[in-house]
Amino acid sequence: MGQTVLEVRDLGLSLGGKRVLDGLSLRLEAGRIAALIGPSGCGKTALLRVLGGLVSPESGSAEICGTDVSDPASRKETGMLVDEASLWGELSIAGNLEMQSRILGKVDRRRMGKLMKALEILPRNTGSRRAGSCPESIKLRLGAAMALLGQPKLLLLDNIFSGLDSDDAIRLTALLREETEERGMATLLTGAFFPTLWHASTNFFRLEAGKIKAHYTKDELLARLPEEPAGADLDALWETLGKEREA
């Protein structure tokens, strides 16, 4: 068993009078790419906001690398992209990465170049336009590059695959796998659709009404799928798993 990077226990949170997290618990080990899958409003983004220190939970606890998330230091080795990329619109793509590098306290141009190349956000791919005027898919890839820049131990990406086309999704998946293999990084991806997260992830959590309802490993699911599953197969499997759980 790998080192535990993220541990969430009985997390409870209400926003605007609605219970968005209701005793949510999950654990994520180093070297895993986990997908948190659930419909809109089930608490995916709320969980990431708690982990990002933007809201405090009403009950339960969450720890990143053994430090409670109420301590900002817990996020020193975390990369996050929640909701949408938070960019400095007037700066170029490289300028945004350089700005983030300075916040992190280390300007590593090789690392910046590697990420830009891997996600195809080099000036030759995107032109020399300002980040604020880039299409959404470029903003998302830039946001992911900024989250990965500091070589985090834990990467949290919210709903990113639904905003990428298939080529971009393949590039990001390859990069996540490479970072996971090289450094043992743990990643938590969120999304509403199982097929979009299938290729990138090794573990799958079903989230409903603010609570984890089931956990599957990729090996468990592979045994129930044809050799090269299509999107329809994956959709059907997720639906079947849901029905089985209810039964």
Binding site: G53, V55, V82, I103
Partner: protein, 275 residues
């Protein structure tokens, strides 16, 4: 905190539009100052103005173009021709007053720190770029403090630079004719007053978190400052100090405004939902 300050500095140098806006304002200020400065060419027409105590005290508390000044004194019948000898005497006497005149008529400089506040606070709220620092383990306090210190340093630096440029260009011999302590104390206090004047709009930006609304209020505030001395420090009446008086109340007023507005801004920033 040091890393955040470095990042702000990097962003400032790369923000072409912001730098262009600053240059335009600076150029406008320089241009406008040519319309209020007293030079050897127009001194022949203004001996009474230059030696008149009434003129100087008026100039030190509000801005007035040379043409306005001429009109003002022509009505009073104080504008008359003088001999060359008189002019030389006036020229010797004029420097301290000219220095004060330039300082008093550089209100446009205030727009620069206000633009900094817009670019580095209001826009960051809307674009959520604060989150990049928070997500990498920086506390809200360090994010807020780094912004605050950076903005006040910018306001102070730009103000000092502007004053030095204007007084240097249009009253070039001032520094050699006036006591150095007087010149630098006065420059520093003016710069401090500009930084303090930026504090209330900074507080507004933290409270409102909307670029357009904050921008409109800041413009209105800047407009108000041009016509009204709503803060005692906006006058920075150094005559107290020149007469051997205590400048501590003036200094405390500026520092007090800075501290109160900064603390109130932190109250809003700490409570703000940044997501």
């Amino acid at each position: 905190m040091r890393n955040l300050m470095r990042a702000h500095w990097y962003r400032l140098l790369r923000s072409v539009l912001l730098l262009a806006a600053l240059l335009v304002i600076l150029a406008c200020d320089l241009f406008l100052s040519t319309r209020v400065t007293v030079t050897t060419s127009n001194m022949r027409e203004l001996p009474m103005l230059c030696t008149s105590g009434a003129f100087m005290s008026y100039a030190d508390s509000t801005s007035m173009s040379v043409s306005m000044a001429k009109g003002f004194f022509r009505k009073r019948g104080q504008l008359e021709e003088s001999s060359a000898e008189d002019l030389i005497g006036v020229f010797q006497d004029i420097h301290p007053f000219q220095f004060r005149w330039v300082l008093a008529t550089r209100r446009g400089m205030l727009a620069i720190p206000l633009i900094f506040a817009m670019a580095f606070l209001a826009m960051d709220f809307e674009r959520r770029s604060y989150l990049n620092a928070l997500y990498t383990g920086r506390s809200r306090a360090s994010v807020y403090c780094s912004k605050l210190i950076f903005l006040f340093l910018c306001a102070f630096g730009v103000s000092l630079l502007g004053i030095c440029a204007l007084t240097g260009i249009y009253a070039g011999t001032v520094y050699s004719r006036l006591p150095a302590a007087y010149v630098w104390t006065r420059l520093a206090l003016h710069a401090l007053s500009d930084a303090a004047l930026m504090a209330p709009p900074l507080l507004l930006v933290c409270a409102l978190r909307k670029t357009v609304v904050s921008g409109a209020i800041i413009l209105a505030y800047d407009f108000l400052l041009r016509f009204t001395s709503i803060f005692p420090m906006s006058k920075m009446d150094m005559s107290i100090w020149e007469q051997g008086g205590n400048i501590l109340p003036t200094l405390l007023w500026s520092v007090g405004i800075l501290l109160v507005c900064s603390a109130a801004g932190w109250f809003f920033f700490r409570k703000a939902k940044l997501n």
